[in-house]
Symmetry: C2
Subunit: 732 residues, 2 copies
């Protein structure tokens, strides 16, 4: 009687904070697929099952897209409403935000619409007027109070219910996608708390964005929806394919950039990205973007966050200021963000709110700020930034306005923007790393956009007043629209974002999807390229890599080349001075022997050899599977005692009489362990680990087993080679 | 004296029609890089060298972009001129094409400009008039004669100088990128001849496009430019990275779609596409696109080939006709293109020209046709397709025109287009596979665009006359612009192209870059998805895969999953009935033994074992390296004779006196051959081969060498499993 013919529950699963074996997972999925395909020829029901299995991936993608799009829409609407709540309330119904409240207002001009009678600021509501210093202070106080309330709620909720909900989540998602297991990181509690606290954190006016966390939210949705389908619930590798697509969905809804989202997932987040996933991610990203558009949170039917239309082309010479912006972005990228985690969220919120309120550019939401900075001043624009002296416009047919001298308001705006720049830079550095959901995309873009707009307006005025200079001659004649400050803001935003995240192609694509302008790829590329180079030259890592390293996650960076000339024998365990490798022989050990081996060591698996003398490798067995199987056999299989012999061979030799029944464990042994020779160069070993997603690899010499290399060994070796502490790698 | 300490020339290179070993090539490059990095600390000169080495990749990309862009511009201009030459000549100078000739004409209206006095049709030039049947026949004859001349020149040049220049070249480039070597396929002769004959073939009016061949041209440029840099000249793997980028450049210049080009390279062509290549491809693609734009071959300053602007959104119900177009595209994709290679190019040319001339839609160049079909009819459009009955236009401010009843000309156009559709479909089937440079993109797009436009106009008229039907109610009220026939043409073009090539994401991105419309992703995606599914369901392969299989190239398709439950022992050689594996022992064989082993077998490499008895694996040695080294030693090393012993061990044991000096060959042995156990599932083996780019892999059982699996063995096994002839795999 051999009960072990049926699978033991738990065999082949992973413990928390462990790395999965991609090869085994993918193999398991192919077995499952093969079984379904074979069965499908037998009956109609099985055929239906096979078809539904084939389409379950697409269905899952559809659901992920719908759910993420709907959630993102909800977050947008709530955040918008709560941000406005800090300033006032709508009399028609407190659930209207400022814009909706004034929607049906009778005022026709755009400027007046802002001051519709139904929308009351707190001062108006309490003391009945909006004028005078007392009302100002009243509004100021209410603004700070609301901000404190929101951030207090956010931080308490995160602390009480879901500590995993803080931060952007992208470094952890990268690690999870590379094959690491962090239970609960993408669970339903994280989703609920992250969604709520994200709205609170954004509304509190802290210098953080919702774009990074939206990636986490989308991944949570995907992980939860995976439980509906056995195919994805049971298989860690298949689930990671869905999560890769979900990362694309997250960016797609964050920016309304489906193609950029897919490229972001491909370039920045994903580890294993087969072409099938590319296609499905694209589908899911589109579904999400269109769901979001149907919800229409921005009220303008646009898919994109910052739609701009520029009317004049750029000139080759402008590449110089663009590259300067790139350098600025690169330097910003090396700022040690998050190295000063201030635990006192309330203090930061209070400081942010107190400093932000007096300056209109910091008081408005960061997205609005970016939108305004990107904007090309038209004739009808009434914003402070567009207050140019009116010059007689000759070409009325074209939308392009010639460069004009700046008015007084523009100079005021410049001052305010300069202050806002300093403020944003300082406050972002302390905000990032706080224990609330926080993204870096929007604050970084804001810093870059402010710097870009300042430079742009400067260039514009220079060109206007000195159009006879050599550099401007030929393309900046008076009356020509040669400098577009909005474009500079856009380029600056891309440069800063690129410096922080080190994204390249995906960033350029996101920017051009964001703004709808295919013509401006070259300026964007020049800036992001410069910023990446500068940032790489100044300090090696992007923000996500730094975060992963700080946390000691076992992440094998696919972008970095291993460039040292070490061999597998230098990295493998045991080292020369260590005791020999712990192995199990295929037919020579009793249950007791194996149990004591398990008790004495903490290795996560053991090689099985023919005999101690020959050291010829037979297979590899996982510690967890071994423990579960022996436990199971002791409980359920009659007569299995400590003296029972364990066999990993195909056939059990006849046992002497009176000996306890043997335990056959060939079923849990991996018959095809990966091996390399001791002379294999480590760069090849690293390549194999990366491309195949291995957990461990055995080392042989002339056919004899010599040692073992695990992912952790490799990461420790890499850390050592880079003169870092090898003990900073915490997990296996 | 051991002359073998210095490298023997030729060791480590590959023969023609062989597969490279990616692991070895990449390892070689890392060694080189490490050496430069170490040296750079020693002197300033070495440091400069190291920096120039680091930037050589970018410089190469720049050159590839510039050269390909310039060549593409030249091809466009020449093809344009020669296409017009079939109809007439310019009196100002024969080198002007029709458009340039009439550029400075005094006629102001657009219609009249076509008939400028300086442009003379052949009839006008010879008999002095363009009217009457005689002049028509005259023009007809000249048209056919020129076409015959061009195609005769094209086919003769290809046959005489560069047989590799025919076809689109994409299947071969796919194979080359996967690691195959075809010497001369990307050489300078191929480049020169392909460029010239491409212009001739396109101008001859044959139903073929220049887009696929442009990918080949760009790859030739890249391959030739690689010779300027040692890094890329010497390393097959590095060179393939550049070629991957060049494929992106090709599509970028063919369609003016840099992002689509990069995705095309990633999705369709490339095998090994690291992130670094992604970024560089993007750079090169942009450089090429901007070079092309500066040359401005279309004379409209647009980067894109078919710029369209649609004015009305699409309705959800329209997805039904879009899916229908997808089904049409899928069916078109399963057409057995190229299965009827007609060698008589002149006959096909004559038939094409004779049938094409009378129908204006087939007479114009295919790009013009597509452009016209994509066009949304504006108020000022005078083309036959836009001859709608004038309905009073109420909203003059908007560009959108309401749906109108079709005029007589539109009905005529419908007839002509229907005939053109049948003609294009038939002629494309026989044209593809001819021995001239020919691409499938444009003819397929034309077929789809015609079908789409026909359906679009049909829908439009249906909606106009039956706007009270349930399906039209609510969105197609009279006076509304609800159906855009141009959009249907675009969707149809995408569907047919998708059916033929099975591209997905890259196709959608190319289409939207082509047309500049981000709003139409969903219709495009619905159509391409349907067309891919339909084509996959009807016949498994895309056109490139079919071509690769027909030619017996050793290409391991990365998209296809291996789904059979076989083990490594079922595939490895020797089979059970075969003689045992030919091995070399590490210290037991003489030069004579090895030479006879080489003479008797044709294997491309031999495993080295400790001894015949133990069969414990030491390493692997390539046949080519062995032959070269023995030859070299016999010539240059004193005393090496047939009786000399060959040693692969680290230390040579002392030889008995009077014995000839030993030959030490450890240096040419690969000390880290890849091994799998005999129980490894074949799906895992296939995965390893694909991901690591192996040539061969050794099979062991319990530490003993058992056999070998080569890429050819795997491909043969896959062919067998799919019930195809395993002997169709020709190369190793």
């Amino acid at each position: 009687m051999d009960l072990l013919d049926e699978p033991v529950p738990g065999v082949g699963t992973y413990e928390d904070f462990n790395t999965i074996d991609w090869v085994r997972e993918k193999s398991k999925d192919r077995d499952r697929h093969r079984e379904i395909a074979t069965k499908s020829k037998e009956s109609v029901l099985a055929l239906m099952k096979s078809i539904s299995d084939a389409f379950s991936g697409w269905l899952l993608m559809l659901l992920v897209g719908l759910m993420s799009g709907a959630l993102a829409g909800g977050i947008d609407i709530s955040a918008h409403w709560m941000t406005d709540l800090k300033e006032g309330v709508c009399l028609n119904g407190f659930w209207f935000n400022h814009e909706h409240c004034c929607w049906n207002s009778n005022e026709t001009t755009f400027q007046e619409r802002d001051k519709c009678p139904n929308w009351k600021s707190w001062a108006e509501l309490i003391v009945g007027t909006n004028d005078g210093p007392f009302a100002y202070i009243m509004n100021y106080l209410m603004y700070v109070c609301w901000a404190l309330l929101f951030s207090f709620l956010a931080v308490s909720l995160v602390r009480a219910f879901a500590p995993y909900a803080c931060g952007s989540g992208i470094p952890e998602i990268k690690t999870i996608l590379s094959g690491f297991i962090i239970r609960g990181y993408l669970g339903k509690w994280t989703l609920v708390i992250k969604t709520i606290t994200l709205v609170l954190a954004v509304s509190s006016g802290l210098s953080l964005g919702k774009e990074g966390p939206l990636v986490h939210v989308a991944c949570c949705c995907a992980n939860i929806l995976c439980h509906l389908f056995t195919k994805y619930r049971r298989n860690e590798a298949k689930r990671r394919e869905v999560l890769s697509a979900a990362a694309a969905v997250g960016v797609s809804v964050a920016f309304g950039a489906p193609i950029g989202g897919v490229l972001f997932s491909l370039e920045e987040v994903s580890y294993y990205f087969p072409l099938k996933t590319l296609w499905r991610s694209f589908f899911a990203a589109l579904v999400a973007a269109f769901t979001l558009r149907s919800i229409n949170p921005f009220g303008n039917s646009r898919l994109v966050l910052f739609y701009v239309e520029f009317h004049s082309p750029w000139h080759l010479l402008e590449l110089i200021p663009f590259v300067l912006l790139g350098i600025f972005g690169g330097i910003w990228g090396t700022t040690r963000l998050g190295h000063y985690p201030v635990l006192e969220v309330l203090v930061v919120t209070a400081v942010t709110a107190l400093l932000a309120f007096p300056n209109s550019y910091t008081r408005m939401s960061t997205s609005e700020l970016i939108s305004e900075l990107f904007n090309d001043c038209g004739l009808l624009d009434s914003s402070q930034l567009c207050n140019y002296a009116n010059v007689s416009v000759t070409k009325s047919s074209s939308n392009a306005l010639p460069d004009r001298p700046a008015g007084q308001d523009v100079y005021t705006a410049m001052w305010q923007l300069s202050l806002a720049l300093v403020f944003k830079m300082l406050i972002t550095v302390v905000t990032f790393g706080m224990k609330v959901p926080s993204g870096l995309f929007i604050p970084s873009m804001a810093v870059g956009a402010i710097a870009g707009r300042l430079l742009g307006v400067g260039m514009e005025q220079l060109a206007y007043y000195h159009h006879d200079w050599v550099i401007f001659r030929g393309w900046c004649s008076p009356g020509a629209d040669c400098i577009t400050p909005g474009l500079y803001a856009m380029v600056g935003a891309a440069a800063c974002l690129g410096g922080v995240t080190r994204m390249t192609v995906s960033l350029v694509v996101i920017m051009f999807e964001l703004t709808g302008g295919l013509e401006y790829i070259v300026p964007l590329m020049a800036a992001t390229m410069t910023s990446k180079w500068v940032a790489d030259a100044l300090g090696r890592e992007g923000i996500y890599e730094a975060h992963i390293r700080l946390n000691g996650y076992p992440f094998l960076e696919p972008k970095e080349e291993f460039s040292h000339k070490t061999l597998a024998m230098d990295v493998m365990r045991p080292r020369r001075s260590d005791p020999p490798l712990s192995v199990i022989t295929q037919d020579g050990m009793s249950v007791e022997d194996v149990e004591s081996l398990i008790a004495e060591t903490s290795y996560s698996g053991f090689p099985v050899v023919v005999s101690h003398e020959s050291q010829r490798l037979v297979g590899f067995v996982q510690r967890r599977d071994l423990v579960i199987s022996i436990e199971n056999a002791r409980q359920r299989q009659e007569g299995v005692v400590s003296a029972s012999r364990i066999f990993f061979t195909e056939y059990t030799p006849p046992q002497p009489p009176n000996s306890p029944p043997p335990l056959k464990l060939r079923g849990i042994m991996d018959l095809s362990p990966f091996t390399v020779t001791d002379h294999t160069a480590m760069d090849i070993v690293v390549d194999i680990f990366r491309k195949l997603g291995l957990r461990q690899c055995l080392v042989t010499h002339n056919g004899r087993l010599l040692g073992i290399i695990t992912k952790k060994d490799i990461l420790k070796h890499m850390a050592q080679m880079a003169n870092r502490d090898p003990d900073s790698i915490l997990f296996n």
